[in-house]
Amino acid sequence: MYAFAYQKPATVAEAVKLLSADPEAKALAGGMTYIPVLKQRLARPSAVVDLSGLGLAGIGVSGGVVTIGAMTTHAAVAASAEVRRAIPALAALAGGIGDNEVRHRGTIGGSLANDDPTADYPAAVLALGATLRTDRRTIAADGYFQGMFTTALEPGEIITAVAFPVPEKAGYAKFPNPASRYAMVGVFVARGPQGVRVAVTGAGQGGVFRHTAMEKALEKSWSADALAGVATPAEGLNADLHGSAEYRAHLVGVMARRALAAAG
């Protein structure tokens, strides 16, 4: 790590002020990505603003909406009786991120602010049509993800909570990287107030995306059979030593069918 100053503000307003006053300052949530980034000297922030003292952890359900505070850990979401009851697919997704040590520190807000193209949460946020609340506004999922590691967040803007409308049906399935468990391909399917939405993570070069052809097919018939003729073009998908773009395109179909089976 390069040298940095450490700040641990007690209020969101103070954190925003620190981050806005210094463009080289960076926010720290759970640190499961950012601490390794610092250790590898891939970033050189002037200051690290630790968000763990802002009181942003917690889960609430009311009026058909599950609201999860930005600093809520993956383990807390996975274990939450309220989330398991309202959106079991979301609890299951959280319980499949990394390993237990990571789930006890990693946070939903940190994951969404980082927007790793292989992260799990973006698929849930996009497919469920969630709303991100920040210190200054609300951002709809459809306008939030803007490509790999790129989001609608402004400099110094902090996610405070994520609000998920409770769906009628939802399911998630991923093909995990065998060593690290990140999603080589993950598909989240949901049917709810916003219709049918299908989001794919891990596969796209531009990060998470909606699979509109699958959405149309599932609007007609909510079943794995409905996906039989739906193609996933390999163009624009990731290719690496773990699998070609064509292989990932195939996995999108397989994971979508598994997600549907999980959704019931």
Partner: protein
């Protein structure tokens, strides 16, 4: 910049002034508190050798800034045995050959203590393997580790019911 950090480590309150915020919880334990039982493996959150309990939850201590842990309770491998009597997880690792070289063992044991505390594995070997998946063992002692965690789970459950030896 100097930062004052107060922690309860293995039941003992400790306060230290850090001259640099880059100190991780792992480095604080090993290099400032001389608690070298917790091991540094990959130093980037992939191997689990540095696993400790922070507020009762298992974490990779290499991925936590010490300053961020101010006010927290930390339990390390040195705090498990009580008055010379091994913790049931420690005893089970010995009984079932849950290690070879031993480098990953403190992390394995702390992770197992955390897993049993979470109550998410029960007596299902597959769930134990999944629950211990954050801790790598390059000697490949996984079979013994799984058996040790299962037995320790039975011993601890028996203690709660008052039927254990």
């Amino acid at each position: 910049m100097s930062l004052s950090v107060s922690l309860t480590v293995n039941g003992v309150s400790r306060t230290i002034v850090l001259d640099d915020p880059r100190v991780t919880l792992l480095d604080l334990l090993r290099e400032r508190f001389d608690l070298t039982g917790t091991k540094k493996g990959c130093d980037r959150g992939q191997c689990g050798a540095c696993t400790v309990l922070l507020g009762g939850r298992r974490i990779n201590s290499c991925l936590a800034l010490a300053a961020s842990c101010d006010g927290a309770e930390v339990l390390t491998i040195e705090g498990l045995a009580q008055g010379g009597a091994l913790h049931p997880v420690q005893a089970a690792f010995i009984a079932h050959d849950g290690f070879q070289c031993g480098f990953c063992t403190p992390g394995q044991i702390m992770s197992a203590v955390g897993l049993l505390g979470e109550g998410q594995a029960g007596d299902d070997p597959e769930r134990v393997r999944e629950g211990m998946s954050g801790n790598l063992c390059r000697c490949g002692a996984y079979v013994g580790i799984t058996e040790a965690v299962l037995e320790a789970g039975r011993v601890l459950a028996g203690r709660e019911k008052g039927t254990a030896p």
